[in-house]
Amino acid sequence: MIHSESRLLVLGIGNAQRGDDAVGIEVARRIAASPPPHTAVRIVFAEASAIMESWRGAQGVVAIDALQSGAPPGTIRRIDAVAESVPADFGGTSTHAFGLGQAVELARALGELPPRLVLFGIEGADFGHGAPLSPPVAGAVREAAARVRRELAEWAAARAAKP
């Protein structure tokens, strides 16, 4: 449950010991270093029930995870998960067949989606045990973090503009 002071949540998803699967965690850590107002940062393993639990109570959630879609490594993909459905295999290297994509769609089926939910997927290259981030993926961290911040700032501005 999100503390009422922190309406917004940045969720870094992945496994820090599996190469590029750590990219969501790296982006979240960057945000955590100087978090925007009313924003909590969490890191979770790519497991649907843990993901759904982590965003309970949040008004807006930006989740970041690694992707394996065949795009060039380091490619950043944005999905407005409230507006559009998310592919079941979106995110990470979890073989449990129950990752971020399923968490979003299960939450949608149960009527438990956060009011705002944006996903950033960053295409990975190397998901080896204990591997560091590969250069193109490491190179995408800064831009991804900047886009996460822009998203949060737009939400804050939209809230402030409300009468």
Binding site: Q17, F45, E47, A48, S49, A50, M52, E53, A88, S94, T95, H96, A97, F98, Q102, E105, L106, A109, L110, G111, H129
Partner: protein, 431 residues
Amino acid sequence: MAKTRTIKVDYLARVEGEGALYLKLAGNRVEDVKLKIFEPPRFFEAFMRGRGFAEAPDITARICGICPVAYQMSSVHAMEDALGVKVGGMLRELRRLLYCGEWIESHGLHVYMLHAPDFLGYQDAIRLAKDHPDEVKRGLRLKKIGNELVTLVGGREIHPVNVRVGGFYKAPRKADLLKLKDDLEWARDAAVETARWVNAFKFPEFEQDYEFVSLCHPGEYPFNEGRLVSNRGLDIGAEEYGAHFQEQHVAHSNALHSVRTGGGAYFVGPQARFALNFEKLPAICRDLAKELGLETPCRNPFKSIVVRSIEIVFAFEEALRIVKAYEEPDRPHVEVAPRAGIGHAATEAPRGMLYHRYELDEKGLIVSAKIVPPTSQNQKQIEDDLAKFVPPRAHKKQDELTWECEQAIRNYDPCISCATHFLKLNVERTP
């Protein structure tokens, strides 16, 4: 000549890891059945050589994100066997509590998200959730409480970090465990409702005369300790495992097939434990089985979902017992000194018995390691089930038959990642 027909499932859904099924029918006769495990083998046994004994629980926990506790438990018990250490009292109780958490997490995921959709005709849990939201929410909450148990005792919910040879790095505080009591009581009752819910599903008529194998302990439903027994007279200590079980390489699988020496397939997991240890279940589980009309032994593998649900009730009841009686131990672990030796252990992972054997040198470094996961033990039994399950149903349409074959595989809650240290379905038919 009968025409042939194949059933192929290239990537089995709702199983842990990557595998496939290939089944070739000539008329109503199954000519070939292969449960293919093509997730690459992960060579854990090889890369543990030369590592210290104390590293085994943390390294082996990485084999699986669903059942890391099982790997930790089998490894610490095997190491303690090699090093002449016995862990008792509250530390032993904490190990059981940690195992309760893992059974709840794993069984909860399988019953609600992976297996229930088969019986209710849904492609996946998301479509199940649209029509049965209250049940799915109940399943998620049950699983969450399992996660909390593992986090509290194990340090975090996936790949716990608090387990060591000799005990734990840190014992949980009594006050923290007691905070879980109300949730555990809710969850035990919700688990009873779960068992009633799944027992109303329609089960295919299918029974086999299995050799069930599980741990058997004189006083308790088995997690960490006991002899390896079967309904056909096996009764051995873990150190005798190698003389009674064999691993065979088959070309179609990256997981080794296990068979009984001089025999064939055998069955590990919830139904085996239930068949061999029914009397050790607490009254709430035995009464529930009676209410549900569940016979023991239960020889219909499709009813594994009911047995698994009764084991969830057991895990919550056992967790409550331990939490209520818990007293913080003086020390979180017993001292362990390195020495040369060989150690064996078998513990009960959610999907069945998990055997570890280690040989250590005088510095406590690992000379050799052997790990036999439950899914590789069940692999041949799954193929045997399919070979007998399909012929009476060979007249069915391809998509219906394929669905039922996948369901038959999921009866075993296969954990393919573990087994390769292991699934895709091909059914080929000659009509």
